[in-house]
Subunit: 569 residues, 2 copies
């Protein structure tokens, strides 16, 4: 068979592999993507003989043959693999090419390397087009093994490492998978606001957004440069007004000429204007404007207090109750002083909302979405997943396969508590007490998904006392139609619910949990007018990446992590 | 021919139209999408005889035949068209169904209506499953023609109108087109931060993000409830410490038992602890913490001043200089007191960044991207575009076709100024003077794209004096490699540039424009280590929607507009 294959012309062999024998140039650049060479199933072998321009950063480089040539491993971020490049000494000063991090653009010809090498193809350079040098003595992220923690202090360079680049590709894949999933299922992407004046039922501490401080600092600077008038200044200006008034009076009494009187009146008006300007300025006070002892937010940018959103759910519901199927995918914020490996002050959430749908539909959607993402990574990011498996988490690919194929377990909260109590009776120790009515702690969730079932678990129908007012009250009047999706490695990945669509019931619930009605009148309007059964959930996007990659710290799976005390760049 | 067609079985006729004769149920709901019926090329006629469940909101409804049945136009937001529904009086109280805005779920059978009606199919109801009523006397957005301005005061309900729903679908389409375009071209989607401590070269006024105010308000409340100790309280506590200290001394001197001494020492320690707590509390001062007369930002959440981003460009460049092709698509913010129809305080931007690419590549990418979006709308949103053409802007579809098919004009800034000067000589009046060195005003841009060329125009190589420091200095040392894409209807749609990749040159430019070097050291690092030729641009996403739809005010093309004095919901 092998002989027959050999006998086939190269183009036919490639066609059988669904490959062409020309390298695709990047659409908006004169170079090729390195992935389009080394990312092929044949490792690039079928491209031997092609002339290409390649550009990238040197992963490792070394001079060989007593300085007569250099080997460079060139990577452009398009895939985990690098292209082996060979440069002869006559083409460039080799010592300037070999430092890790050097940017190199070269023209050359692709050749099959001698047998026994790992590479299926290498690039023999004919011309060095450009070099962005690196002084290895100063480069902050040299070739030596760097910890993820160390890299967090070099956010602007860390994407040049294999790990952070692989995470970037996986994150990109999951984001596009998210859009593809919801678009395929006829959901509209709705941009909910980042700046909000609604407090989503106190979901957490909020960041305040304001221009009052900068405005007051501006004023302060201005008043230092140009101090406000003193009482003496104002008195003097008043004096001038009265003198000029007197002058006008005298001219009139003396029956002076019209032009004389006009000129005098003009002088008087000028003096009056000056006085009122001074009086106005004398009222300016440094500091944040106050009224009745409180900050005067009517002078803030939005004429009221504004915050960064903690969730787009309430707002996206207004669209679900109009165009049926929607989702939002954007940044959300919590001003909590959590220094854990699971919390960020700025993180991304995916929040679909479905009209004409109940808790079962919600669970079906959540399960289908998670499975879709797992399949997407297996189909399109396997090279990056293999890197993660090799470097961080041996089991990550098996985990994706398992979640993609196995139906999620679905148990009620009451059943979940029973299982946990059973475990306690069997000798399992939890830090947090288990009894009906508690909010499940992370240790409980991990036990259910990692130990008890060893697969994803959806827990539904939680006690109303531990859940938000907008979740639909069940007929038992004790539980609400909420659901959490728990997965191995991270625990809670998704939280959702059917929303309370009955006006009287939700109004009662708002009062019951001690919230004022007024700020929720617009939300109540959705139930007052043409109310609809609907549901939705939120997925913490970074948690999904932790789940997929096995990375331990959430600060490493977002390009620019924000947490207490740190917001670099 | 018609007869032959009639003779074909229905299934074959449908196959010829690429249609099936079953209605697709929504994946996560028990109803069908109304679009899957009335959005078919045959208007739904091929589905006659099918039993379906449909849900939606009544656009218009009326009782007919002396109250024996009702016609409802039912819309679920999946397309601009509604489904005609006929309900007999025996099935429900008809008066409760017909009000605009009522939510109705019905089971029924699809039938071809009598000849002479506009509809190709209608739903004969067999069962009314549920109704979300509307009191038409109270409904804030009744059927009467409502202005877009009026609707801005009812953000939570306005998506139920034909216009805002059509804009939502167009916005969704453009967002997914954006992702699809960049993914197809091997760009990675990078989430740049919303919270930033970098000021993107003073691109505009920034919103400050802080927890200092809420923390100080919390403290203030606490101090009112629980006032700080007075000097007298502290003196008293000191007295206790000294007494207890004396007591310990005496017991020791008296050689008391070990247990007596231990107990006495414990008492002393308790008193000391109490004193230090009081002293600590006495230092608490209401108000924002200050140090040396300035606000002490080390006590703010991020231990420094933080802002909302005005652009993700500088941060996304760190990824371009590592993984080559990236884009960011997210919200950006300007705290400017602009009350125009073209400015928002919160708006979405698309910012690609391409390594190994120059200004030509940048223009090619921008042009391809805009054309791709136009084609996407023509291919997938034609029904919504027809609605916009009918209701708002007759020319909008032709404009999309023109932009999708015609090569963009490309002229240098110098040529642009010459053309404008020529126009002035020809009698054209501009409010802003035209001469080399000015920043082109909106009227100039509109003249070039709408009058002079009547097609998209890319102007490139602007004077360095009016552009940002990071744009690449041309060899003439007078201009920079910047480019703006101007389109009819909105003027500037895109602004971009090749970035200055030469360390010495960009360092000089930062100093030249009067900026400090220190905050840009990380940005300079990208040029110090492995620098690469690169370029990018920013597209104002809402401007693209204005361009596509012909809507006049930017506040109507974003779901939740934020502008001075307003941030509803």
């Amino acid at each position: 068979m092998a002989e027959t294959d050999q006998a086939l012309p190269l183009s036919d062999q490639l066609a059988a592999m669904n490959l062409t024998d020309t390298v695709e140039k990047h659409a908006f650049s004169d170079r090729v993507l390195i992935r389009s060479i080394v990312g092929r199933p044949d490792g690039g072998a079928g491209l031997a003989g092609q002339r290409v321009r390649a550009g990238g950063w040197v992963k490792t480089g070394r001079e060989q043959g007593k300085g007569t040539f250099a080997f460079l491993e060139l990577n452009d971020g398009s895939c985990p693999a690098s292209l082996q490049v060979i440069v002869d000494a006559g083409l460039a000063v080799l010592s300037k090419l070999v430092a890790t991090g050097t940017c190199v653009v070269v023209d050359g010809i692709l050749k099959v390397p001698p047998e026994g090498t790992r590479q299926k193809i290498e690039l023999r350079v004919e011309k060095v087009v450009s070099v962005g040098e690196v002084d290895p003595a100063k480069y902050p992220i040299p070739k030596t093994k760097l910890t993820l923690e160390f890299l967090r202090d070099h956010l602007h360079l860390r994407a040049r490492t294999n790990t952070i680049a692989a995470i970037a590709r996986i994150r990109n894949a999951l984001a596009f998978a998210t859009h593809s999933f919801f678009q395929e299922h006829n959901f509209l992407y709705v941009h909910t606001p980042i700046l909000t004046t609604s407090d989503c039922e106190g979901a957490g501490e909020m960041f305040q957004v304001t221009t009052l401080i900068s405005e007051s600092e501006k004023l302060e600077k201005e008043l230092i440069k140009n101090p406000p008038p003193s009482e003496v200044d104002i008195e003097a200006a008043r004096q001038v007004v009265s003198e000029r008034g007197e002058a006008v009076k005298q001219l009139k009494a003396a029956k002076a000429s019209k032009s004389e009187i006009t000129a005098s009146v003009a002088e008087l008006n000028k003096a009056k204007e000056n006085l009122s300007k001074l009086e106005e300025r004398s009222k300016l006070k440094p500091g944040i404007p106050k009224k009745d002892g409180k900050i005067d937010y009517t002078q803030d940018f939005f004429a009221r207090q504004a915050f960064l959103t903690v969730s787009g759910q309430l707002q996206v519901e207004t669209y679900a109750c109009a165009v049926s199927n929607v989702y939002t995918f954007g940044p959300t914020f919590r001003a909590e002083h959590s220094h854990t490996s699971r919390h960020l002050a700025e993180f991304w959430m995916v929040e679909p909302e479905i009209a004409f749908a109940d808790l079962q539909d919600d669970m079906n959607c959540a399960e289908a979405y998670v499975k879709y993402m797992c399949n997407w990574l297996l189909d399109r990011c396997l090279d990056d997943m293999l890197f993660m498996a090799k470097s961080y988490d041996k089991g990550c690919i098996d985990r994706l396969r398992m979640v993609a194929s196995i139906p999620f377990v679905r148990i009620s909260y009451t059943e979940a508590v029973e299982l946990l109590e059973e475990a306690v009776r069997g000798g399992k120790k939890f830090e947090n007490e288990v009894k009906w009515g508690i909010d499940l702690a992370s240790e409980h969730e991990r036990y259910l998904t990692e130990v008890k079932f060893q697969k994803p678990v959806i827990v539904y129908n939680y006690p109303k006392g531990i859940k938000a007012f907008y979740m639909r009250l069940n007929d038992d009047l004790k539980t609400v139609a909420a659901m959490d999706v728990l997965v191995p490695k991270v625990g809670e990945l998704i939280g959702g619910s059917q929303r309370e669509e009955r006006y009287e019931v939700i109004r009662e619930r708002i009062l019951e949990v001690g919230l004022p009605l007024e700020p929720y009148e617009w939300y109540l309007d959705l139930r007052r007018y043409g109310t609809v059964k609907h549901c939705g959930f939120g997925l913490g996007f970074e948690r999904m990446i932790l789940f997929a990659t096995g990375i331990e710290n959430i600060r490493d799976v977002i390009p620019f992590p924000r947490y207490p005390g740190r917001a670099d760049l």
